[in-house]
């Protein structure tokens, strides 16, 4: 495209970061060296613009390498992907993890959200303010919304740009840890607590969704298979796609991402759309303050999500799946990345899955710090490389979704429920929970409690029962108030414990 750029040019490492993502520039038209042939030939059109969806990934690449997006780097991304610079800028300035102003390589995001505030975040910030100055690019530490590790509040995430970038979640954090991350580097901090820490029930009998957490090695596909992994996929492949959808309808499974929409109906509607291809998106943006249930699965049992997504794709005719993972989950990213490779190598993903002739593959797309991207249409814009602004509905995603095609969007927890549905059958699954709300449910409990964490209980449990599971408030303290839900939740008093 005939785009106009300012004169700013990218540095060597900025170019390298982008080139490693999308390959070398093969002509002056794409940001490479201009040579004589470029004067006689022009490239552009749909082919060039079809890489638009890599804008966010390219911004990540530069931000990870140098810590911020310079005018030269921005121009280079625009040229390489045929996207106008004003447009790249609009994307770069939408996401909180990116900076379009120069800043040091080391940045620490300090959580000041509900659970952390209840456990001393303010004290941490006051000390940091006194020692390092006010938050911002100059001092290296910034305020952050919930980082999704509320069970270990107060939390922070340290990032050191470089090759490779170092990302380290510090939880619980102290002001000393933050200063150490900034002055000596996040790599020198103690290793993060094990993922199992988030699940106090880990290893208990009778768990369904969390049954493997703490028992299985999240890095090993062999261990996953040894713990009944991929049996649900076998069942699904035996049944055929329509039967899988029928079982999910019979199970009464409702979405766990917030809107409680019946999953089976969503799948059926998408499967029946004539427009092709179909896509599957897993919503792993989990940014609601106080919510970390999806992370418990992603880190404790990552293969289960991949298996569940494979089944969902099979049932809905999706050719490609995307896991949209919030940018603040570096360990989840690493574990999922590893799991994808392992699954592909064993023939559970890719061409001709398990010799069935059916093909499907998955990729992870990282968010970059924007709560709104968890909204199901904002997620499409973000994956497509735009600002994460919601789209107008109708049309709904089942008709016009990702890249304008029929798309199923499901939450992580919703998807992993498909495994027990395949294993038990829809009708047996529907016996769990209540008549209206079937199945097991994950609850996140954090704050001043003895055992904060993710708990699996059948639908219908009371608030009091859950607080009891979490060990109640520590000795000598009394329960004063509970926030139900996150940013848009409501407070109840300490004596209103019989709420379901």
């Amino acid at each position: 495209m005939d785009l106009k750029f300012t004169d700013a040019t990218a540095h060597e490492d900025e170019r390298d970061a982008v080139d490693r993502l999308i390959g070398e520039a093969h002509s002056g038209w794409y940001g490479g060296e201009r040579d004589a042939t470029d004067h006689r030939m022009s490239y552009g059109g749909h082919q060039a613009r079809s890489e638009r969806h890599l804008v966010l990934e390219a911004l990540h690449a530069v931000n990870d390498r140098v810590g911020w997006i310079s005018p030269g780097a921005l121009n280079y991304i625009g040229r390489r992907l045929s996207v106008p610079p004003a447009d790249v800028y609009s994307v770069a300035t939408f996401y909180a993890l990116f900076s379009t102003a120069p800043r040091p390589k080391r940045i620490v995001h300090v959580c000041t959200d509900v659970a952390c505030e209840a456990l001393g975040a303010k004290g941490v910030c006051d000390t940091l303010q006194a020692r390092l100055g006010p938050p911002g690019a100059a001092s290296g530490w910034k305020h952050s919304p919930c980082l999704g590790v509320c069970e270990r509040a107060p939390a922070a995430m340290a990032v050191e740009a470089g090759d490779p970038v170092v990302e380290h979640v510090i939880a619980p954090t102290t002001a000393d840890d933050v200063v150490q991350a900034l002055e000596v580097g996040p790599a020198t901090l103690a290793a993060e607590a094990s993922p199992t820490m988030a699940v106090p029930q880990a290893g208990d009998e009778g768990l369904i969704l969390l049954r493997r957490v703490g028992r299985v090695d999240p890095e090993s596909i062999d261990d996953y298979i040894a713990h009944d992994g991929y049996q649900a996929l076998d069942r699904a492949l035996e049944m055929g796609p329509q039967a899988v959808v029928q079982e999910v309808i019979a199970s009464g499974l409702m979405g766990r991402g917030g809107a409680a929409f019946p999953t089976g109906r969503k799948w059926e509607a998408t499967a029946g759309q004539p427009a092709q291809p179909h896509y599957l998106v897993c919503n792993a943006d989990e940014s609601e303050p106080g919510t970390f249930k999806d992370r418990a699965i992603l880190e404790g049992d990552p293969f289960s999500l991949i298996e569940a997504m494979t089944i969902a794709a099979y049932a809905t005719g999706a050719v490609r799946g995307y896991i949209y993972l919030r940018g603040e989950y570096p360990r989840s990213y690493r574990l999922l990345h590893n799991a994808l490779h392992a699954a592909r190598k064993r023939g559970y993903l890719g061409a001709d899955i398990l010799g069935t002739g059916w093909s499907f593959d998955l990729e992870i797309r990282r968010g970059a710090g924007a709560y709104i991207c968890g909204e199901e249409t904002a997620i499409f814009n973000s994956i497509e490389g735009y600002r994460g602004e919601p789209r107008t509905k109708p049309p709904f995603p089942v008709e016009v979704g990702l890249f304008g095609k029929p798309t199923v969007v499901n939450n992580v927890e919703t998807l992993v429920n498909v495994l027990p549905i395949m294993e038990l059958g829809g009708a047996a699954y529907a016996q769990i929970g209540t008549e209206q709300s079937t199945g097991p449910k994950l609850f996140c409990i954090s704050g001043n409690l003895v055992r904060p964490g993710v708990y699996e209980v059948p639908f219908g449990s009371t608030l009091g029962e859950m607080i009891e599971l979490a060990g109640g408030v520590p000795e000598g303290r009394t329960l004063q108030a509970i926030l139900l839900g996150g940013a848009a939740g409501s407070f109840v008093r300490g004596d209103e414990l019989d709420i379901h």
Partner: protein
């Protein structure tokens, strides 16, 4: 010759099905594909709109046009929702009025709406009180520095505003984003919907959002080609001709004294229509009729700004 003449086709368009619906108890039939706004207009309802543009795809950004639709849990933007058979629409319920009042109050408290047509009437009609959030915050000199996610919570003593310095960086037009409601119309007109120049976009997020070039470079450094098609669609006067801007500053701008004459642009053979706005025998701005089949309200720099030679007397 005669034979050819007789065979000249008469343009009849495709036959359209009519859709019948009810608006405030009145039955109305409109062509399939019309919006609820079209249907409301057809029965004489005057629905306020800001981000809606007759030459643009609805963006649903401002939410001032909301109506109640029977069976819908939420209010519905009338400017984009298509009519369906037998749908029951209400434009004047307490819920609709409440929603419009709030939208107008929030916009009015944060944006300078002094040059937005009809706003005064709407404020009165919906009893909106934009002043209730407190006195406006002073001008912000850092609105073009974007730190998404970094919230600087106020103390509640003043109402947040878009107040910022005007951008006067070229001789042709001025960007006064203190008057901007972030309706995206200029972005769409500059982008894929008309001009395909992509000089401007929305930068930043939430209340810190701004229409901006890359890194806020000045227009002459940006991709802008001064077609002025963004000015044509801007509903608030945030974008205006330098001539209008200067006259307003001098206090000489007077729309009642202006005449509008639509004529053909003589610069090339495309056939765009120009509407010359003339005050005191001087062209003070140029617009273009939106219903004209050649340009749909769009011009190039010559048609839009190349009028000085006419008045070099």
């Amino acid at each position: 010759m005669t034979a050819t003449h007789e065979r000249t086709p008469v343009e009849m368009g495709m036959p359209v099905r009519l859709v019948t619906l009810s608006v405030d108890g009145q039955e109305v039939s409109v062509p399939e594909g019309s919006t609820l706004l079209d249907a409301c207009t057809a029965v004489g309802e005057d629905i306020p709109t800001l981000c809606y543009g007759d030459t643009l795809t609805p963006k649903n950004a401002c939410r001032v046009c909301m109506v109640e639709v029977e069976g819908s849990r939420v209010l519905v933007p009338s400017c984009s929702r298509k009519v369906t058979e037998n749908v029951v629409v209400r434009t004047d319920t307490e819920r609709v009025r409440h929603s419009r009042r709030l939208v107008l109050e929030l916009l009015g408290s944060s944006v300078d709406l002094s040059t937005t047509p009809h706003v005064e009437e709407w404020m009165a009609e919906y009893a909106a009180d934009p002043g209730r959030f407190g006195p406006p915050a002073p001008e912000d000199l850092h609105r073009d520095v974007h730190e998404p996610g970094e919230h600087h919570a106020g103390d509640g003593s003043v109402a947040e505003t878009m107040e910022q310095p005007d951008k006067v960086d070229n001789d042709l037009y001025v960007r006064d984003y203190s008057k901007c409601i972030l309706c995206y119309k200029c972005v769409d007109a500059c982008g894929t919907q008309w001009q395909n120049t992509f000089a401007i976009q929305v930068a930043g997020r939430g209340f810190e959002s701004q229409i901006s070039t890359e890194f806020n470079v000045e227009l002459p450094e940006s991709a802008c080609v001064y077609c002025g098609n963004c000015i044509e669609v801007c509903p608030t006067g945030a974008l205006s001709f330098k001539s209008e801007y200067d006259m307003r500053a001098e206090g000489t701008w007077n729309e009642d004294e202006q005449t509008q004459t639509t004529t053909l642009c003589t610069f090339c053979g495309v056939g765009c229509n120009l509407t010359l706005h003339v005050q005191d025998n001087t062209i003070v701005k140029v617009s273009s009729p939106h219903d004209h089949s050649v340009g749909h309200g769009n011009l190039c720099i010559k048609g839009r700004f190349g009028f000085q030679h006419v008045q070099n007397r």
